[in-house]
Amino acid sequence: MSLELTNLSKSFKHDTVLDGVSLQVPEGKTLVLFGPSGAGKTVLLRLIAGVIEPDNGQIKISGIDVDGAEPEDRNIGMAFQNFALFPHMDAHANIAAPLTAQRKDQSAIQSGVQALAKLLKIDHVLGHKPKELSNGQKQRTALARALAGKPKILLLDDPLRNVDAKLRFEMRLELPRLLSDQNATVIYVTQDYKEAMAFGDEIAVINDGIVQQIGTPEDIYLTPANVEIARLFGDPVINFLDVTLQKDATGVFVLISDKRIDLDANYSHAIGNECTLGIRPESVLFVNQDHENAVPVTVEAETPLNEKTVNLCLTARGREIMASRPAGTDGPENGPAFVNIEAANAVIFDKQTGVRIESEQSTGEGNVT
């Protein structure tokens, strides 16, 4: 079943939580809702689930407006961030809740619960009350409960937030397969950009109650709609340098420490503007001094970061740049060094508004809202 949200708004007292949100999720696809806390993600899920009513706008499930339909009539499965297990029922009864609601007979409930429990590796703790379960088991129980009714729409509210790192890593690998087996339309809420990139057919970045960008994970990573999104996606965070676009006979460029960084000629409409240049740390490469346009920097520190090694460098004017390279590759000693900045992957933002300046040829492609 497809899900279509049109112009949804919701305020609590004078606090506008959602302001004109429109989204579409085709049948069987996964949309990741990504945004910082307080962005309105959870409220949006609750509107879809029907536990709170929107002030404005329309929710269509399979093309049918569900305005006024009670939560129990929407055929939705939902996993809450805080699990929201029924504390007075054991794990079995928790998972069985959607099945008892469908008035399945005892044997069907038994087999349904057993199958899911086996799949999620909690079949040995089915007799336990929620408070006797570990966080990971609670999370799996909550997930099993969401899946048990075979819902056509699955809402997952940051289900990996409250589990430990090891389990989060495992579930990141397992969940996509589990979700595709269900063949459900999924909305997955997260604050973790890696989860967002791993799970989403599409990602909707939501902040301050509005959808700032919708696109594939690649779109969001390579062409973030604004400074904020660029900052949120990527670890270590993207480098920002204040620059002014310039142009001469050979093309458009900016100067960093008096070294020329050539840009795409299609930015010529922004010449003379004060801009913020966004450069991913992996596009900052250490090179020898004789390299053309190598920018002199001082290497301040080195931090190993899982599969990467990150160096913190200072430019001649004292601006910080982070350079990331695959772990195990040769890096510079602390002290003077030179970097080459790969301009092809750079993104340029308006300094005042923080909105990405598009190169002229890509304008109107429509992957940015």
Binding site: R74, A97, A101
Partner: protein, 285 residues
Amino acid sequence: MQTTSTLESVLRGIAITAIILFFMFPILWIFLMSFQTNETILRVPPSLFFEPTLTNYRSLISGKLEGSTATLEIRFMSNLYNSLFLSVTSVTVGLILGVPAAYAFARLKFRGSEDIAFTLLSFRFAPPLLVLLPLTIYFQQIGLADTYGGLIWVYQLIVLPLILWIVRGYFEDIPADIEYAYRIAGHGFWATFRKIALPLAGPGIAAAGLLAFIFAWNNFIFALVLASADKQPVTVGALAFITASGINYGQIAAGIMLSIAPTFALALYAQRYLVEGLSLGAVKG
């Protein structure tokens, strides 16, 4: 450190003993009195040593108060039955009305809900006597005076606000997500109320019910004014012990022992719930 903690525990022991003595002594004294005759009770100086007698209890249960000059009929056992009936029924009615109302006040924010909840609480502010005068007249006009129904109705003034405010705090304590989860799983509003909200608020409902029972049991003034002899609870019935020929301290003591027994037993049994329920209500209500 060792000496301080020893000293501390000794001091604490003394303090606790003093408090227990202070609060328990009257009950102990009455307990002893209930096994004595008027003569041994009133002798000077009072003594802890006496020959225990069961005559007080015997006369209460048989309903015949044997004074020095004549035999007096009393209805102590029927009073006790009235107390039990009135309290249990009032609390039952109070729970049936109060628990769903408390849920509504906790979960469904409707216009004026706070005002209505506060109005219900404000019933407890007015001195009972102020309410009683007009109430007596109305009750006589509509034929509710001196009926169990009328008394139970008036007892709701005591019972309902208590249940409402304590249970409301408990309902508010249940994370709304748990109820949402049950709804989304496909269960309706009433099923969610019965299967999720009620069991989770269970301790609070028990505490509120117990407390309401104790308050109803101890009520004196409503029953004094609104009930005649055959509907009176023990609190009012105890007045019969003050007779023309004197005050029967022994029988009063035995009557007190019998009438506090049910609440005493209940409170002992459920003191854990009581403390929990009250403190929760206080914080959240």
